[in-house]
């Protein structure tokens, strides 16, 4: 029992690792600030394209979204970071992670937006256009707000997934939360920094997960 506490919940080691882990947390936050807006924006474009009148555009975007939803994000990340240099394209770890997660996240967000947009009745579009609003105005003021509201729990859940996904960046030596904690582990020969990182993920994401359950409940009610 004592050995377990020593190896996993050693407060001294955690205190020692804290500055490093905190730096990692900062990088994780930076990564989220880049990837989540990119994914949300890219996803909107994916959804719009998959609902467009052009058959060619619709099909190419469907293939795009299917491909990047089916491909494991870790495989995608390693392909971009370690594969692309063979084609003469060398990206920094940060850029590689952003690109890989942009492709992955926008495909998932895109499907969610699409479901949301399709859940808004055609009558809303007709009413908006009948008052002289342009297609863009009708979409922005009438359709999108309702679409987002209808799929808000899914958008938030997917955002939780994206935050968790950022831990994969450790694989390409990007010093985010997990990578920093693992560095601390290897220096201290103690697992407590990893436990610390896990607790930080939990502290951030647990309230968000609760929130999605409540949102789902509210929409079902």
């Amino acid at each position: 029992m004592d050995a377990l506490l020593q190896q996993f919940f050693n407060l001294d080691v955690m205190a020692q690792a804290w500055p490093l882990v905190l730096k990692g947390l900062g990088m994780t936050a930076l990564l989220c600030l880049a990837v989540i807006p990119l994914g949300l924006g890219g996803g909107l474009l994916v959804a719009l394209a998959s609902l467009s009148g052009s058959r060619a555009l619709r099909w190419s975007v469907r293939v795009f979204a299917d491909l990047f939803r089916a491909l494991p994000p870790l495989v995608l990340l390693i392909l971009i970071y370690s594969g692309l240099p063979f084609a003469g394209i060398r990206l920094s770890p940060f850029a590689a992670v952003c690109l890989a997660f942009l492709l992955n996240a926008s495909s998932f967000y895109g499907e969610i937006y699409r479901a949301g947009i399709e859940s808004v009745g055609r009558g809303q579009w007709e009413a908006a256009r009948s008052t002289g609003l342009t297609a863009g105005q009708a979409f922005g003021y009438v359709i999108l707000p309702q679409a987002v509201r209808n799929v808000l729990p899914d958008l938030v859940s997917n955002t939780v997934e994206v935050v968790k996904l950022t831990s994969l960046a450790s694989v390409v030596s990007f010093t985010e939360l997990l990578y920093a904690a693992d560095m601390a582990r290897s220096v201290t020969y103690n697992a407590s920094p990893i436990v610390l990182a896990a607790l930080i993920y939990l502290a951030i994401l647990w309230p968000v997960v609760r929130l999605t359950s409540r949102l789902e409940h509210r929409i079902a009610a």
Partner: protein, 245 residues
């Protein structure tokens, strides 16, 4: 005779192999209230929805105050704000208040300031008897109230023509009267209106002209008194008798 506000010529529309409008001619004069009646599937709603090109006609001509809406160069958004439309299902924006529903196009289409738009919007809600419901969301309103907000939304843009697509069909019987009362007051204020509806009593007392459609064509038209009592065509007589019972 004054120039027509709306002049539809040889309008055709098919859904796949089904021809829904077989070359319709319809002319609506200023301040006229035209009632479109006919069995379901006769094409009356499609005709109405073609008038502002919510439904895209295959061919023909639609002139609004002399401007050809079927022209490639026609600014459809500019034309649409002069054609108010009221739908069977109200189609209010559920995420906005009653006032927000009315002011959206005032601000974004006519470019009014928020203050100005709200002033006009409140006056429009007052006109349909709902000044006290400005801050309510559609979900908090009865069907009759929702439809009156929808009318206020259309009227606030000061259209030259109003289209009503079965405005009372989705309402409980006891709520129909409040909507018809608003339509009657619009008529008294001189609004030009085209109405698709089964409210025959309203047609009889308020319409200037009743147009009977069947199978995508206009069978017969005339003033309500004549149409209801001495229709020429046996199909018209059969329909009006059936529905008037």
């Amino acid at each position: 005779m004054p120039a027509p506000i709306l002049d539809v010529r040889a309008l055709r529309k098919s859904f796949g192999p089904l021809e829904v409008l077989k070359g319709i001619d319809l002319s609506v004069r200023p301040q006229e209230l035209v009632f479109l009646v006919g069995p379901s599937g006769s094409g009356k709603s499609t005709l109405l929805r073609c008038c502002n090109r919510l439904e895209e006609p295959d061919s023909g001509s639609i002139r609004l105050e002399g401007v050809e809406l079927m022209d490639r160069a026609c600014d459809l958004n500019a034309a649409r704000r002069r054609i108010g439309m009221v739908f069977q299902g109200f189609n209010l924006y559920p995420h906005m208040t009653a006032l927000g529903n009315v002011t959206l196009a005032l601000r974004k289409v006519l470019g009014k300031s928020r203050r100005e738009a709200e002033e006009i919007g409140r006056a429009a809600l007052d006109r349909v008897g709902l000044a006290d419901k400005a801050a309510c969301h559609p979900g908090e309103l009865s069907g009759g109230q929702q439809q009156r907000v929808a009318i206020a939304r259309a009227v606030s843009l000061e259209p030259t023509l109003m289209l009503f697509d079965e405005p009372t069909s989705a309402l409980d019987p006891e709520l129909v009267g409040s909507v018809l009362a608003v339509m009657r007051s619009l008529r008294e204020a001189g609004m030009t209106m085209v109405v698709v509806s089964h409210e025959m009593r309203f047609a009889r007392e308020a319409a200037d002209r009743v147009v009977f459609m069947e199978g995508g064509a206009i069978v017969e038209e005339g003033p309500p008194a004549a149409m209801f009592t001495e229709a020429q065509h046996p199909r018209t007589r059969a329909f009006l008798q059936e529905i008037g019972r």
